[in-house]
């Protein structure tokens, strides 16, 4: 039986007149109530104020609202994750200063409260998991250019700073790409992935995975894996690969593409995906590898995708692995962004698995306003046996661009392929919008 695929443009009807470049989306599903989903993108308050809106759905992603949940004006980076007890965590970046926020329990019309602030940060990216009633929260980022984690083993109810501690990850380099990603397992195993630069600015780097066996509560966090070649913490999955940095795929700035996911049923099985390049014919090639012994050794490339970015891995309770990515292709000479969700049951060992094209949209319009054009990341999350996710893409309402169908909330005319304002008459210029998706019946 084919999976059920739902794709929804997240701009609400009452914001039909908006034309912002709503790139770099994120999504989190409340494990306590999966009908409750929160997303972010570079979407300012349509009325020009603050606080900043988050995308909130209370019906499993079928309809979306923009509700002011993030304090301050639109952030330069933002990331959200639900923990347990309907607690929502976020990390935002304003002018280089990170704020970790909490809403406990999350209320869709209440602004989140700050827990931690820290300067000289780049790309804070948060993960959270309820482990026995305590929320393990890990915010990866660079801190003054160095790979770091701000983490708490029990962040749900404590007063600020809610137990957050700081750890540096990389013993080999003082400089790292901004994407620091973690994967948390309910047995308190936590993996962290990062790029370790060989020189500044980067042309080559190591792809490193570190592990902690106790959610960072021990004396020397993230030192459980040691690389046999140099005896230092963190296994180098690749010792030296070219890494894009301020290279471009079409109008999209690429570099620092990284994702990691652990099997929720087996903490020994972990996947990592990264972007490397440029090489002839491909500005950035995504690689996917697997470890089945807690990160000690890694497979050869299980999947390679040329001219692609924004990898996001997730693993369902049934062990199905999903890889979301966006690939630049040429169709009759015209550049297009294809958003794929690849799904495998055997880790891409022998079979290609499912390849679901969620969207196939023009790349050369609309003209970009800022970097990143579609985002430095998209997002994929597994909840039970389903996949939920989000990506940003050109919002032309053309059903042909969405092979599995699409629902638009904002006013549109599929026949004329036009966006319409709230008056249903005025034509609205095309822009970049976030699109939610949900795959079930896998």
């Amino acid at each position: 039986m084919a999976p059920l695929v739902q794709v929804v443009n997240m701009i609400p009807r009452s914001a039909s007149g908006e034309t912002h470049q709503d790139s770099e989306p994120q999504l989190t599903v409340n494990p306590t109530n999966p009908l409750e989903i929160v997303g972010t993108a570079f979407t300012p308050d349509p009325s020009g104020g603050s606080p900043s809106p988050g995308y909130v759905s209370l019906d499993g992603g079928q309809t979306w609202n923009l509700s002011p949940v993030l304090p301050d004006v639109l952030a330069n980076d933002q990331s959200v994750r639900f923990g347990g007890g309907s607690t929502l965590y976020a990390a935002t970046l304003h002018a280089g200063s990170m704020t970790i926020l909490r809403s406990s329990p999350f209320r869709p019309n209440v602004v989140m409260q700050p827990l931690v602030q820290r300067p000289s940060i780049d790309q804070p990216y948060i993960f959270a998991l309820d482990v026995g009633g305590k929320d393990r929260v890990f915010t990866g980022s660079t801190d003054s250019g160095r790979a770091s984690l701000h983490h708490s083993a029990d962040a749900r109810t404590a007063n600020p700073p809610a137990g957050f501690k700081h750890a540096l990850l990389d013993p080999r380099s003082q400089n790292n790409s901004p994407s620091i990603r973690t994967a948390i397992h309910s047995d308190d195993t936590v993996y962290a992935a990062y790029f370790s630069w060989h020189q500044v600015p980067v042309t080559k780097a190591a792809v490193v995975v570190a592990r902690d066996n106790a959610s960072g509560t021990g004396g020397a966090p993230f030192t459980a894996l040691t690389d046999g070649a140099d005896g230092l913490p963190g296994i180098r999955v690749e010792k030296s690969v070219p890494i894009p940095w301020f290279d471009f795929l079409g109008q999209q700035r690429v570099g620092s593409a990284l994702s990691i996911a652990v099997d929720p049923m087996d903490s020994a099985t972990v996947y990592v995906a990264w972007g490397e390049g440029p090489k002839r014919g491909s500005v950035q090639t995504l690689r996917v590898r697997r470890s089945t012994n807690r990160g000690a050794t890694w497979s050869k490339n299980r999947l390679s995708v040329s001219n692609a970015t924004n990898p996001a891995l997730a693993i369902t309770d049934a062990g199905k692995v999903g890889l979301l990515y966006q690939r630049l292709v040429a169709n009759q000479g015209q550049p297009r962004w294809q958003t794929h969700l690849r799904i495998t049951s055997d880790g891409w060992a022998t079979k290609p698995g499912l390849d679901i094209v969620l969207a196939d949209t023009p790349e050369d319009a609309p003209t970009y306003k800022f970097d990143p054009y579609i985002g430095d990341y998209a997002d994929l999350e597994a909840v039970g046996q389903d996949f939920f996710g989000v990506f940003s893409a050109h919002n032309m309402p053309d059903p042909a661009n969405f092979p599995y169908g699409v629902v638009y909330q904002r006013n549109h005319d599929f026949g004329r392929r036009l966006l319409l304002d709230v008056d249903q008459q005025t034509i609205v210029p095309e822009s970049i919008d976030p699109f939610f998706f949900h795959l079930s019946q896998l």
């Binding site: 609400p12 009807r13 009452s14 914001a15 007149g17 908006e18 034309t19 570079f42 308050d45 349509p46 009325s47 020009g48 104020g49 809106p53 909130v56 209370l58 309809t63 979306w64 609202n65 923009l66 509700s67 002011p68 330069n76 980076d77 970046l93 002018a95 280089g96 869709p108 019309n109 780049d122 790309q123 660079t142 250019g145 400089n175 901004p178 500044v200 600015p201 940095w245 301020f246 700035r253 570099g255 620092s256 970009y368 306003k369 800022f370 970097d371 990143p372 430095d376 909330q409 304002d421 709230v422 008056d423 005025t426």
Partner: protein, 255 residues
């Protein structure tokens, strides 16, 4: 809270105009909320039909004819059928918009006075912002860009995606409006198109403008003044020059 008539466009209404991002005339259709999960129903919540938009951003400019949920400041002030001018701020964009009221007045027969007030207050708000930027400027000059270049020795590849990627613009000054600079002054600007910097000025060779030069604590090759705010490059036209002259010499305020 009383309901001042349009003829009583007093300081209170002026404050409401300053505080509101969505000003419109509408009629109360019924009690209740169109988005009860976000704005629970209550004695101060009503559904309003928007009749005429007086002030908004582009996203709400064409909201006339639509319905909105309004949460008033005081219960009992929005009876069904009442037609008023709302001064409000959006708190939700969903199928419909929900608003927190700042204040309201009875809808006038003639909108000219209230729309005139909105126009004046909006101009004053814009003037206040520019006046603050002018007051903090090290220098304000009118001039044209001779050349732009990355500073010698600077890496063409930033360390962070949010790095400003400082470039230097050399501006030949034709007129000094504030402060003292050399006839050809070097200023720093963020060449980055990253989300953090894309709205900051990007001088181009030959471009003439009024430039607001600020010290920001950064020194790149001895260049300590910078253009970092969207207001730091002003267009050259008579009205803007007169406006800046006025704000520099008398400050913002009613005019």
């Amino acid at each position: 809270m009383g309901d001042p008539t349009p003829l009583e466009l007093n300081d209170r209404v002026t404050d409401w105009v300053k505080a509101a991002r969505f000003i419109f005339t509408g009629t109360v259709e019924r009690a209740g909320s169109l988005s009860p999960d976000f704005v629970p129903e209550g004695p101060n919540v009503a559904v309003v039909r928007v009749e005429r938009v007086h002030s908004s951003t582009r996203a709400l400019a064409r909201y006339a004819g639509q319905v909105a949920t309004v949460r008033s400041r005081e219960p009992g002030t929005l009876p069904v059928g009442k037609r008023v001018v709302f001064f409000a701020n959006p708190i939700l964009f969903g199928e419909t918009v929900a608003l927190d009221e700042v204040g309201h007045i009875d809808a006038p027969a003639d909108f000219v006075p209230i729309e005139g007030l909105i126009q004046r207050v909006t101009q004053d708000k814009n003037d206040d912002e520019l006046a603050a930027r002018l007051a903090n400027a090290e220098a304000v000059v009118q001039g044209s860009v001779v050349a732009v270049a990355r500073p010698p020795g600077a890496s063409p590849v930033p360390i962070s995606e949010h790095d400003p990627d400082w470039w230097i613009a050399r501006i030949r000054v034709r007129r000094w409006l504030k402060g003292d600079t050399p006839a050809e002054v070097a200023v720093r600007y963020a060449h980055s198109r990253d989300i953090r910097w894309y709205r900051s000025p990007k001088p181009e060779p030959g471009q003439e403008a009024i430039w607001l030069l600020h010290r920001d604590g950064v020194d790149v090759g001895g260049v300590v003044v910078a253009l970092v705010h969207p207001l730091d490059a002003r267009p050259i036209d008579d009205a803007e020059i007169q406006r800046i002259d006025r704000l520099l010499h008398s400050g913002p305020g009613p005019h």
